[in-house]
Amino acid sequence: MKRLFQTIIPVLYIVFLLVPIYWLVNMSFKTNTEITTGLSLWPREPTLRNYTVIFTDSSWYSGYINSIIYVVLNTVISVAAALPAAYAFSRYRFFGDKHLFFWLLTNRMAPAAVFALPFFQLYSAFGLFDTHIAVALAHCLFNVPLAVWILEGFMSGVPREIDETAYVDGHSFPSFFVRIFMPLIASGIGVAAFFCFMFSWVEVLIARTLTATDAKPIVAIMTRTQSASGMDWGVLAAAGVLTLIPGAIVIWFVRNYIAKGFALGRV
């Protein structure tokens, strides 16, 4: 009986979670006729046509390229900005530091839709509309505070005496920070980068609002696929599968640190 609960129930739960993903993969290898004409648990006539369409049609694959460009840009900017900020919060006491630290987090409490309009207006005015950097900067609003929170937790886990020992040894601040400190919080940097990557990768609303054609992300392309011949289900499914892959790859690299990251480093 105990065995039943220990194995059957988790298995059922995991199957339950995997069904939609399986269905997506299943669909991506079917023809449109098979998808629309009935229920089949696996592709009767497996085809790679759907994937071929995506890899040959620039209106599809450019979406991936655009997404990857602004996501990587955003991750680099967010982590680069968060490192010194988190260090300041972790090591110094200054006027209003605790309030500022909390205020950072409140930025994550507003729905993205709230910022869509001001961002659209602002970036249009600066001529940044439909550029990768526009989306990357807009996503910083959510990702910099998150990265600061995660990194601050990891940094506070490093004793302050290590900083001082480095100064006593004669290391300058930049030398200490890059050569001694950053390797110590490498897993924190990895976790912060992962979260920035994920949030930027899955965010649709702001990315869609700030782009038209040149920087249009894959998530936006996927939501507008009505063509003259109706819905192309198979291609859409293949696009969905390909969209999951970068996230899966990144998760693989940081899987050992992810729980610590969810605890914002405060373990």
Binding site: P159, E161, I162, E164, T165, A166, Y167, V168, D169, G170, H171, S172, S175, I180, P183, L184
Partner: protein, 344 residues
């Protein structure tokens, strides 16, 4: 020579260190003795240059270094927690200060070998500090301090986190390690026994103030005031009001009499001894010594006896102390020791 000229340190209104002056000579070992929060660490950090004094000056060999960043000073510091660079091997840890100074590679290698040999770290050079025992980790920290050849070596309770046996061992080694380097060694500790074991000079600290500075044995034998005597006593110093003691020989102006726990002995003693009736509260036995806690009226005393002595609690006991072992202090806590009076 390191000279502190009326330095003080206040942090957001709180006094961590009141105005303090101190001169430390090269090639000497000085112990900063005081309880936690007595200002030892503040003083060490001021000496290192990790913190700036709120007022006063720090001079090194006559040169004002008050505002000089710590990187430019020739100091080394070892903390109570075993602080090394966890990502680097023992070798890289030891070489860290040498590499920063851009010494020739050959010299760096030779120096690493030398200090590793001194601290028995040779077989561990390629390991990471966190793979080592606590004692070995602290040796790495000491090796780094030694390799740097600093003029000022600051040790902040370096042995407090080690177990008893290692502590004894490393304590005996410490003065030898730095002997002949000509460095000024400053050693902060909470334990009076450590100060005595290291000999050299001692400064006692209490509430952010140096109460007395001088050769360790002088401080122990002839404390200038009651606070110093209390700080430099473990187990705690026994005190009694002069009126309670009813001692004819008390110097004029005496207000408090004090004596060390091992000077309190059971029995009547000689004719001139001061005898008291006390009741036993509890007995602690450490093996070779027994601490007998006794009460006399409102006073709580400790009696230190060699060997194992067990007294049932509540037992009435007659104890005595020889007048030669009594220290007398006036109402302000200043010593009335005639030998000090002459010196002053």
């Amino acid at each position: 020579m390191l000279e502190l000229r009326q330095v003080s340190r206040r942090v957001s209104g709180q006094v961590h260190l009141s105005e303090t002056s101190l001169q430390l000579q090269p090639g000497t070992l000085s112990v900063l003795l005081g309880r936690t929060l007595s200002g030892k660490t503040s003083l060490l950090r001021l000496m290192a240059g990790l913190e700036k004094p709120s007022s006063g000056q720090v001079l090194f060999n006559g040169k004002d270094v008050t505002g000089q960043p710590v990187q430019q000073r020739r100091v080394a510091m070892v903390y109570q927690q075993f602080i090394n660079y966890p990502g680097w091997t023992v070798r890289q840890n030891i070489q860290s200060p040498l590499k920063v100074q851009r010494r020739p590679q050959l010299e760096i290698e030779q120096e690493t070998q030398r200090v590793a040999q001194l601290l028995r770290l040779e077989p561990l050079l390629d390991r990471k500090p966190l793979e080592l025992s606590g004692g070995q980790q602290q040796r790495v920290a000491l090796a780094r301090a030694l390799a740097k050849k600093a003029d000022l070596v600051l040790l902040d309770e370096p042995l407090a986190n080690l177990d008893y046996k290692l502590r004894e061992e490393l304590r005996a080694e410490l003065p030898k390690l730095f002997a002949g380097t000509g460095a000024i060694i400053v050693y902060a500790t909470t334990e009076p026994m450590e100060a005595l074991a290291l000999s050299g000079m001692t400064a006692t600290l209490s509430e952010g103030r140096i109460t007395q500075f001088g050769p360790t044995l002088d401080l122990y034998r002839r404390p200038h005031d009651l606070i110093t005597a209390k700080t430099f006593s473990d187990p705690p110093l026994n005190t009694i009001g002069v009126h309670d003691a009813n001692w004819q020989g008390a110097p004029r102006g005496a207000s408090t009499l004090a004596f060390r726990p091992h000077h309190l002995t059971p029995g009547m003693g000689s004719g001139s001894a001061l005898a008291f009736n006390v009741s036993v509260i509890s007995t602690e036995i450490t093996g070779s010594e027994s601490f007998i806690h006794v009460a006399r009226g409102a006073d709580r005393w400790v009696m230190l006896a060699h060997g194992i002595h067990v007294y049932p609690s509540g037992e009435q006991l007659q104890v005595h102390v020889e007048p030669a072992h009594l220290m007398a202090f006036d109402a302000l806590g200043v010593s009335l020791d005639p030998s000090l009076r002459r010196a002053a």
